[in-house]
Symmetry: C2
Subunit: 147 residues, 2 copies
């Protein structure tokens, strides 16, 4: 990579795509969620405690069921960290659900200039969450881009 | 992608890299684990219940502690599914630890012709595991390659 400005832009766009995913979820907007997932590749999703859903149909079916369920929790993403690996980008973030915290990895593929989701995995956090952001070492700031 | 044979080979190599990761873990071989992780990019790891470890030093420190711990469980990978996205590959598999089952995503980056790990996330499985392999739909066979 010889384009630091372009790379920073890639990573900012990746963080924005990650935020758009959680915003669509917050709106319970299944169509917007659908539009965020990649086309023409195998996508997958591992919801907390679930076996993997593999393939677009199974993944979207799971999201439609979740957003249609009035008992589904609010999810607030926190401290996203973006890693760009060429045409693929990972965003690792915490997901705050009331008093519970999950840790998620959202994987994106660049398609037609946009970051589209190809995988989501969220896991429960069982250990105490690390210190607040201000006390974190430099590599763990919110929205930080790494390369 | 216009090279189906090359793609199948990519995916077979990806499944093999995933197997090599678990074999190194089974041998408690921290150096072999180290050699499997990518260089010169940000790598990350989310162990079950842990907060994310980000950066090669934090990731390898966690693996060295785990393999040095005689109480660490045996992990048997099962039903790996490979997805190749250009230079990045994902392997989703179950991890059997005695009577417990986790679900893991291992993410690899092709470096110098070899698949090297860039991310590992393992989550507990809380729902019943899907039907045995023989009863699975076609998209969920062990070692299957998807594209």
């Amino acid at each position: 990579m010889t384009d630091p400005a372009g790379m920073a832009s890639d990573e900012s766009a990746l963080i924005a795509a990650n935020a758009a995913f959680y915003a669509a979820f917050a709106r319970r907007d299944a169509d917007a969620l659908d539009a965020l997932w990649a086309e023409d590749v195998t996508v997958a999703c591992i919801h907390p405690g679930w076996s993997p859903r593999i393939g677009r149909e199974a993944v979207m079916e799971s999201w439609r069921a979740i957003v249609a369920n009035p008992g589904s929790p609010r999810i607030v993403p926190e401290e996203p960290v973006a890693v760009v690996l060429g045409a693929v980008g990972l965003v690792i973030c915490y997901e705050r659900l009331g008093n519970d915290t999950l840790v998620a990895t959202n994987t994106f593929l660049r398609q037609n200039g946009a970051w589209r989701m190809v995988h989501h995995q969220a896991s429960p956090l069982a250990e105490p969450r690390p210190r607040p952001v201000a006390a974190q070492p430099p590599q763990r700031r919110p929205g930080q881009v790494l390369h």
